[in-house]
Amino acid sequence: MAFSVGGDSGNQTLVPDLTFFPDPNVDRVLGVVMELAAEVYVLRDRLHMLEALLARSGVLTPADLDSYEPSEPEREQRLAERDALIARILAPMTAEADSPAPPFEPA
């Protein structure tokens, strides 16, 4: 749908957008992936600024972050989160339904 800032072009017809890959689902999924990649970059940029500002105001230095030693429970927690993230990201690719659809009988 055409959105315009405070205006309306009248071009409100919903039509499928152009696709370029042999399977149009690739076009859509790539849209999701690149949107996430952009967000990752935005977060990295934000984090970098945060670290720079903390360093500038003397709260900590970049070396403090790099040399930070998490406690054993902290590290275990991080690694568990990492494993869960990897599993979540790749789950759709294994095509194994974690909640199988019930057998369906047409009425």
């Binding site: 959105f3 315009s4 205006g7 072009s9 071009n11 152009l18 934000r46």
Partner: protein
């Protein structure tokens, strides 16, 4: 109230940086890969890198406009009222025509994939202004290529009256005031929001320009009123019958000996580059661009009645107009800029 086009900051800047990074990848790494694949096999459509190339060309545009809109939306009301300011002691003028019927070829196409075009909402012109500044792969600082066009492609003459067709928000028009301070400079465009912004910016920068809401194909000016008629990135956005009308209109309003000078795009003669560019129109919502590429412009200009038609390459990152007719050696994807000139006999 000041008229300020919001520059992207913070997360918006980071997001747009990323999108521009995607565009750079498209224009350099991926274009080179595609070229390599094309050299060793046949048709463009079958090359493994082509779907991604096409996808990036379209979707980086969409990502950019979506973000700019989201950025400007919260300020839309404020910007819209800023657009209604009346400058004190204006040195130029603004002439809007609320009754002007916008042509279908203009309203039915969201050019460059900007949602709503540049005309349907007042704040759209700000979205366009910010987008235009960053879209040229981030290299469009202060619209350098407009100045380069005026400085290298417009012969130094004592122009009395200059007309800029499809002037948008005035970025193509203002350099003519700088280069020819004695001339009376006029801009026409279809979009009222564009023209309001053009007028306010021109007044803010103290550049005397008269802006009119009129179509390039029906400017309403008298016969033989101008010494120079120009248009920048306009003629690839119109159907061929309209282009013919625009050229005929330019001829009509020019004085004898007057010059038509247009900055636009054309085929380069590089088979691969041209083939890739043929698909740009469809991918970037510029449906008439492929037709322009198939048009013999010198023949069309002669047919309309112009003399001495010429089409010369233009290097927007180097020295501008290339009088020897050769294209610059460039490995990356780039817009195939040309200068089209002809004289009223």
């Amino acid at each position: 109230m000041t008229l300020s086009s919001p520059a992207p900051v913070g997360e918006d800047r980071a997001y747009l940086d990323f999108v521009l990074g995607m565009k750079q990848y498209f224009a350099t790494t991926l274009y080179a890969k595609l070229h390599e694949q094309y050299a060793s096999s046949g048709t463009l459509e079958d090359l493994p890198a082509y779907p991604l190339f096409e996808w990036l060309e379209r979707n980086t545009q969409k990502m950019m406009w979506r973000r700019l809109e989201a950025m400007i939306r919260p300020q839309a009301a404020e910007l819209e009222s800023a657009l209604e300011q009346v400058p004190e002691r204006p040195i130029g003028s603004l002439h809007l025509d609320p009754a002007l019927e916008l042509p279908e070829y203009y309203t039915q196409t969201e050019f460059h994939i900007q949602p709503g075009g540049v005309w349907s909402g007042a704040a759209n012109t700000f979205v366009y202004e910010v987008g235009a500044k960053i879209v040229m792969l981030g290299q469009n600082d202060d619209y350098r290529f407009h100045r380069l066009f005026v400085e290298t492609a417009i012969p130094r003459r004592d122009y009395g009256d200059i007309l800029d067709l499809g002037c948008g928000f005035g970025k193509s028009t203002r350099p003519f005031v700088d280069a020819f301070p004695g001339a009376h400079v006029v801009g026409v465009d279809l979009s009222a929001p564009n023209l309001k912004l053009a007028h306010l910016q021109a007044e803010r920068l103290r550049k005397p320009i008269d802006f009119y809401q009129r179509a390039a194909e029906h400017t309403g000016f008298g016969d033989a009123s101008f010494d120079l008629v120009t248009a920048t990135m306009l003629i690839h956005e119109m159907p061929m019958p309209v282009l013919r009308q625009v050229l005929a209109e330019a001829l009509r309003v020019l004085r004898v000996g007057g010059l038509l000078a247009v900055l636009d795009f054309a085929h380069t003669g590089d088979e691969f580059r041209d083939l890739v560019m043929d698909g740009h129109g469809a991918r970037n919502n510029e449906p008439y661009m492929p037709h322009l590429f198939r048009t013999d412009l010198p023949a069309l200009l002669s047919d309309v009645g112009f003399g001495a038609p010429e089409v010369l390459p233009f290097d927007e990152r180097g020295g501008g107009l290339r009088l020897d007719g050769t294209w610059p050696e460039r490995a990356e994807w780039h817009f195939p800029w040309v200068v089209i000139r002809a004289t009223k006999r």
